[in-house]
C-alpha cells in the first residue's frame, strides 16, 4: 500500500526521555514533603476504594491527581488530610508518620491546608474572620497582619467585611484559598477547586492560583478530572483509574508517553492502530514504526497515534476517505476511514477545509512511538 510510505522518518523517532523534561532529576535534591507508601483505603472491606498507591511529593512541587469520577482521587486527598483511615500502607508528612493501619494523627495536628470543592466558607463569619479562623493562638495584631497580607495576595482587599453569600464564586474561592494558606501549611490540598466556576473564570483563576503557589513556594496537591487543568497547573501528574495509580510523571510524559491505554485515552484524543512486529519495525496500515519495546517478531500490538501526529494529503485515487469534519474553532478534526475500515483522526489547522468523501493519503509524524500489547479478542491485524 502506498498511502503510508512517508510515515516512517526515522529522525523523528526518539525513545522515552529525550525531549521530555524530567522532573524527577531536579526534584530529587529537594526534601520530600509527603510520602505515600503502598496505601489502601476501603469504605467496604471487600471493595477497596484505592489500593497500593505509592508516590512522593517534594518541597514546592504542584501535583495533580487526575482521573475520572469515582477513581479514588478524592479519597487519596482525604486520606492525606486525615479524614479517611488507611487500611494498609503508610503516609508520612515532612518525615513524620501520620497515617497507617494503627496510626491516625488528627487532622488539626497535620499542618495542612485544604480548599474544598464547594469552598465551605463559614456562612456565619465575615471574610476576615473566615481567613483568621485558624489563627486563634496568635495576638490580634499578628492575626491582622496575616489577614492583611493574604487579602493583598489574593486580591480581596475591600471585601473583608462581607459575608460569604455576598461574594461571587471566584471571590469565594479566593477566600477559601486565603484561609487555607493563613497557617502556612506544609502542604495545600485542593479538591476540584475550579469545578464550581464558569469556564472563563476557571482559566483565569488557574493562572492566578499557579502564580500564587509559586510565589508562596507552596507545595500543593490538586484533584481534578480535567486533563487540561492538570497539564497547565502541575509539575507532575498522577493518573488514577479504579483506585489504582496508572502513571505518575510530568505532564509532557503523560501526554506523549502514556504507559497504559487508559492514560493515553484519558489525557487526550488517541487512536489505537493494530500492528504486528516484524524485525525492528512495527508494521501497521498507516506505516511502520520503530519497535521501541524490543518485542519478538510476530507479536501483535496496538500503536497509539494522536490526531496532531497525523496529517492529511488529498490524493486522487487514494483509498482512505474523509468521513466527517468537526470544526472546533482553533482546529479542524477529521475522522478518516482507512481501507480496512479502521478509523483514525487528524487535527488540521482551522483553515484547512476538505470535503467529506475526499480521497487522501496520510502523513504520520509521530515524535514518540507508544506501543501496547494487543488485548485478546480485537480484530485481526491488517498489514500493509
Amino acid at each position: 500500500m502506498s498511502l503510508a510510505n512517508e510515515s516512517v522518518t526515522s529522525g523523528h523517532h526518539t525513545t522515552s526521555g529525550g525531549m521530555i523534561p524530567n522532573a524527577l532529576d531536579s526534584a530529587a535534591e529537594r526534601s520530600a514533603v509527603l510520602e505515600l507508601r503502598d496505601i489502601s483505603c476501603a469504605y467496604e472491606p471487600t471493595r477497596p476504594a484505592i489500593e497500593g498507591i505509592t508516590f512522593t511529593v517534594h518541597q514546592g512541587e504542584i501535583l495533580c491527581l487526575l482521573g475520572p469520577s469515582g477513581c479514588g482521587k478524592t479519597t487519596i486527598l482525604r486520606a492525606i488530610a486525615g479524614f479517611e483511615r488507611v487500611t494498609a500502607g503508610s503516609i508520612a508528612l515532612s518525615g513524620q508518620l501520620v497515617s497507617s493501619r494503627d496510626t491516625m494523627l488528627p487532622t488539626e495536628q497535620r499542618h495542612i491546608g485544604m480548599v474544598f470543592q464547594e469552598y465551605a466558607l463559614f456562612p456565619h463569619l465575615r471574610v476576615e474572620k473566615n481567613i483568621a479562623f485558624g489563627l486563634r493562638h496568635l495576638s490580634r495584631t499578628e492575626q491582622q497582619a496575616i489577614v492583611d497580607d493574604l487579602l493583598m495576595l489574593t486580591g480581596l482587599r475591600g471585601l473583608e467585611h462581607r459575608y460569604p453569600h455576598e461574594l461571587s464564586g471566584g471571590q469565594q474561592q479566593r477566600v477559601a484559598l486565603a484561609r487555607a494558606l493563613a497557617l502556612r501549611p506544609v502542604l495545600l490540598l485542593l479538591d476540584e477547586p475550579f469545578s464550581n466556576l464558569d469556564p472563563d473564570m476557571a482559566s483565569r483563576m488557574r493562572q492566578d492560583l499557579h502564580a500564587l503557589l509559586r510565589q508562596t513556594k507552596t507545595t500543593a496537591i490538586l484533584v481534578t478530572h480535567d486533563h487540561d487543568e492538570a497539564f497547565s497547573m502541575a509539575d507532575r501528574v498522577a493518573v488514577l483509574n479504579k483506585g489504582r495509580l496508572e502513571q505518575f510523571d510530568t505532564p509532557e510524559a503523560i501526554y506523549h508517553l502514556p504507559t497504559t491505554p487508559f492514560v493515553a485515552d484519558f489525557v487526550g484524543q488517541a487512536d489505537f492502530i493494530t500492528g504486528v512486529v516484524t524485525h525492528h519495525l512495527v508494521t501497521t496500515e498507516i506505516g511502520d514504526f520503530p519497535n521501541t519495546q524490543h518485542l519478538a517478531t510476530g507479536t501483535h500490538v496496538v500503536v497509539m497515534i494522536r490526531p496532531d501526529d497525523i496529517h492529511i494529503v488529498p490524493t486522487k485515487g487514494a483509498e482512505a476517505r474523509i468521513l466527517a469534519r468537526q470544526f472546533k474553532g482553533s482546529e479542524n478534526v477529521y475522522t478518516i476511514q482507512l481501507p480496512s475500515g479502521q478509523i483514525v483522526h487528524s487535527s488540521e489547522s482551522s483553515l484547512s477545509i476538505y470535503q467529506v468523501g475526499t480521497a487522501i493519503t496520510l502523513r504520520v509524524v509521530a515524535t514518540h512511538t507508544v506501543l501496547f500489547p494487543q488485548p485478546p479478542g480485537s480484530p485481526p491485524v491488517v498489514v500493509a
Binding site: F83, P106, E108, G113, A120, F133, R179
Partner: protein, 534 residues
C-alpha cells in the same frame, strides 16, 4: 404568556379572593376593635388584677418549656444524626410521635400518674418514705414537664434536619485549620444550627402560649385559660378581647421570630453538592447510655401514656363504653372535620392560586391575610367568631355554621402550606405545552393541572381534617348544645376524673393524629429547610 393566563383566570376570581381575605381578617380586626373601644375601667381593672399574674404565668411557662426543650431537642437530634446504635432508625421516628398526643390527653394521663396517691407517688414513697412528695402536675414544674414532653419534637425535628443538611466540609475545614473537635463544635457546628434551634424554640413558645387543653385541665392560669373563663363564667367579651389582644401580639412576635430565623437558615445551607457527616459507632457503653436516655424520653412522652390509655380503654370497653353514643361522637367529630376541611380547601383555592400565578402585591397580601389564623389561639378564634355572630347574625349563634367558620379561620394556614407549593409546581409553561400538543383549555386543566395539584390538595384536606378532629377550645365554646365530639368527651370525662371513660376517645384521637404527623414529618425528613412542621 400573559394573555394566556388572563384568559384562564378571570378577574371575578380577584374579587372572590379579596372578599375571602376580608372575611378572614374581619374577626381578628373586630376583636382588636372591641378591645380598643372597651371602657377604660375594664382596662384598669385587668391591668391591676389579672394581667400581671397571667402574663407572668404564661411567659415563665413559655421560658421554662423552651429551655428544657432546647436541651432535650438538641441532644436527641445530635445523638440520632451523629451516632449509630442498635434501633436508631426506629427511634428517629419514634421521637417525633409525641406530636400526635394532644396536650389535653397527655395532661389527663399525667394528672392521674403524678397526682396525689397516683402510681408515681406510691412508687416514690416506697423509695423515700411515706412523707416524700412529687411535684404536683398542677404546679409550675408539673405543667412545664407535660408541655415539654409534648413539644420537644419541634426542636428535635428542626435541629435534626439542620444537622443532616450541614455540610461536613465546614467541620473538616475547621480541623484542617488546626482547631480541635470540641472547639469545632463550639465555633462552627453550633453557630450553623443556631437558626434552626431558634426557629424550633419560637414554635415551642407559640405552641405553649396558645395551648388551652393542658392548662385548662390542670387549672394553670395562663392567658388562653383566662380568655375561656372570661367567656364562660363572666360572659365578659370586652375583657376577653383585651386578653386576646395580648395573646395575638405575643403570637405575632414569635411567629415573626420563627419566620426570620428560618429565612436566615437558608444562607447557612450549601447549595449544590455537599458531603454529609458519617455516623460514629456508639460502643457498648455508649449504646447503653443512649438507649436508656432515648427510652426514658420516649417512654415519658408517648410510651407510658399510650400504654395507660390502652389499659383504660380495655377496661372501659369491657364495661360497654363503645355504645351508640360513642359512635355518635365519632360521627359528630368526622362530620365537623370533613365540613371544615372541604370549606377550607374551597376558600383557600382562589387565594393560593392567584398568589402563585399572579403574584401581585394585592394577591400576596390576600394570601398573607389567610395566614392570620396562625396568630389566633383556639379560644381567641372562637371568641372572634362568637362576638362577630352575636352582633351581626345572632340567629346563627349556636349552630354548626359558627363552629365550622371558626375551624376554617383557625386551620386554613395548615392547609395553605400544602396547597401553595402544589400550585407553584404548575407553571404556565406546563399548561401551554399541553395546549401546543392539542389540548383545549378544559382538557389541559383535567390532564395536566389537576393531576399536578391533586396530591398537595389531598394532603391539605387530610391535615385540616385531622387537626379539626382533635380541636378542643373552639369546639367547647361554640358547639351547639349537647353536640359532643371526641375531644370534648375526653376533656369533660377527664375534668371529672373518669379516666377510664375518657380513654377510648383519647386513644382514637392519638391514632387519628398519626397519619397527619407522618405527612408532616416525612416532608421534614426530606431535609428541605424551607418547609418544616407547623
Amino acid at each position: 404568556m400573559l394573555t394566556a393566563t388572563r384568559v384562564q383566570a378571570p378577574s371575578s376570581l380577584q374579587w372572590v379572593s379579596l372578599f375571602t381575605a376580608a372575611l378572614l381578617v374581619f374577626p381578628t380586626a373586630y376583636i382588636v376593635y372591641v378591645a380598643m373601644t372597651a371602657a377604660p375601667a375594664v382596662w384598669t381593672r385587668l391591668w391591676s388584677t389579672r394581667i400581671p399574674e397571667l402574663l407572668g404565668n404564661t411567659l415563665s411557662l413559655a421560658v421554662g418549656v423552651a429551655l428544657t426543650t432546647l436541651i432535650l431537642g438538641v441532644s436527641l437530634a445530635w445523638i440520632t444524626v451523629r451516632y449509630d446504635f442498635p434501633g436508631r432508625r426506629i427511634w428517629e421516628w419514634a421521637l417525633a410521635l409525641p406530636l400526635a398526643m394532644p396536650t389535653y390527653v397527655l395532661a389527663y394521663v399525667y394528672a392521674h400518674l403524678m397526682g396525689m396517691g397516683g402510681p408515681a407517688e406510691q412508687w416514690w414513697q416506697l423509695l423515700f418514705g411515706p412523707e416524700a412528695r412529687l411535684p404536683s402536675p398542677q404546679s409550675f414544674a408539673g405543667v412545664t414537664m407535660i408541655m415539654v414532653l409534648d413539644t420537644f419534637p419541634f426542636v428535635y425535628l428542626l435541629v435534626r434536619s439542620a444537622l443532616q443538611n450541614l455540610n461536613v466540609s465546614f467541620e473538616e475545614v475547621a480541623r484542617a485549620c488546626g482547631v480541635s473537635p470540641w472547639a469545632t463544635l463550639r465555633r462552627v457546628t453550633l453557630p450553623l444550627i443556631r437558626p434552626a434551634i431558634a426557629a424550633g424554640l419560637a414554635l415551642v413558645i407559640l405552641y405553649v402560649i396558645s395551648d388551652f387543653g393542658a392548662v385548662s385541665l390542670l387549672r394553670y392560669q395562663t392567658l388562653t385559660y383566662a380568655v375561656y373563663q372570661q367567656m364562660t363564667s363572666r360572659y365578659d367579651h370586652a375583657a376577653a378581647s383585651i386578653l386576646s389582644l395580648l395573646l395575638v401580639v405575643m403570637a405575632i412576635i414569635f411567629l415573626m421570630t420563627e419566620r426570620w430565623f428560618r429565612q436566615r437558615s437558608r444562607f447557612y445551607q450549601t447549595s449544590g453538592r455537599y458531603r454529609r457527616s458519617t455516623r460514629q459507632h456508639a460502643g457498648p457503653l455508649g449504646t447503653a447510655l443512649i438507649t436508656s436516655y432515648v427510652v426514658l424520653v420516649f417512654g415519658a412522652a408517648f410510651g407510658i401514656p399510650v400504654a395507660m390509655l390502652i389499659q383504660w380503654s380495655v377496661e372501659a370497653i369491657s364495661q360497654g363504653a363503645l355504645d351508640t353514643r360513642f359512635l355518635g361522637f365519632i360521627w359528630n367529630s368526622s362530620f365537623l372535620a370533613a365540613l371544615a376541611a372541604c370549606g377550607a380547601v374551597i376558600i383557600g383555592l382562589p387565594l393560593a392560586y392567584l398568589a402563585s400565578r399572579r403574584p401581585s402585591r394585592l394577591n400576596i397580601a390576600c394570601l398573607q391575610a389567610a395566614y392570620a389564623g396562625y396568630a389566633l389561639p383556639g379560644p381567641v378564634a372562637a371568641l372572634a367568631v362568637l362576638v362577630l355572630f352575636t352582633h351581626f347574625a345572632p340567629a346563627l349563634y349556636g349552630t354548626v355554621v359558627v363552629l365550622v367558620i371558626a375551624y376554617i379561620l383557625h386551620f386554613l394556614p395548615v392547609g395553605l402550606q400544602s396547597m401553595e407549593p402544589a400550585l407553584q409546581q404548575v407553571t404556565p409553561n406546563v399548561e401551554e405545552v399541553a395546549r401546543t400538543l392539542g389540548c383545549t383549555t378544559h382538557q389541559s386543566l383535567w390532564r395536566v393541572t389537576l393531576p399536578l395539584v391533586r396530591n398537595g390538595f389531598v394532603v391539605a384536606w387530610v391535615l385540616m381534617f385531622l387537626q379539626t378532629m382533635k380541636e378542643l377550645p373552639a369546639t367547647l365554646l361554640l358547639r351547639p348544645v349537647g353536640f359532643d365530639t371526641l375531644a370534648i368527651r375526653v376533656w369533660l370525662e377527664s375534668s371529672e376524673e373518669y379516666y377510664q371513660l375518657a380513654a377510648p376517645a383519647a386513644l382514637l384521637i392519638v391514632l387519628l393524629s398519626l397519619p397527619a404527623l407522618m405527612l408532616l414529618v416525612s416532608k421534614d425528613w426530606r431535609g428541605d429547610p424551607q418547609e418544616g412542621i407547623k
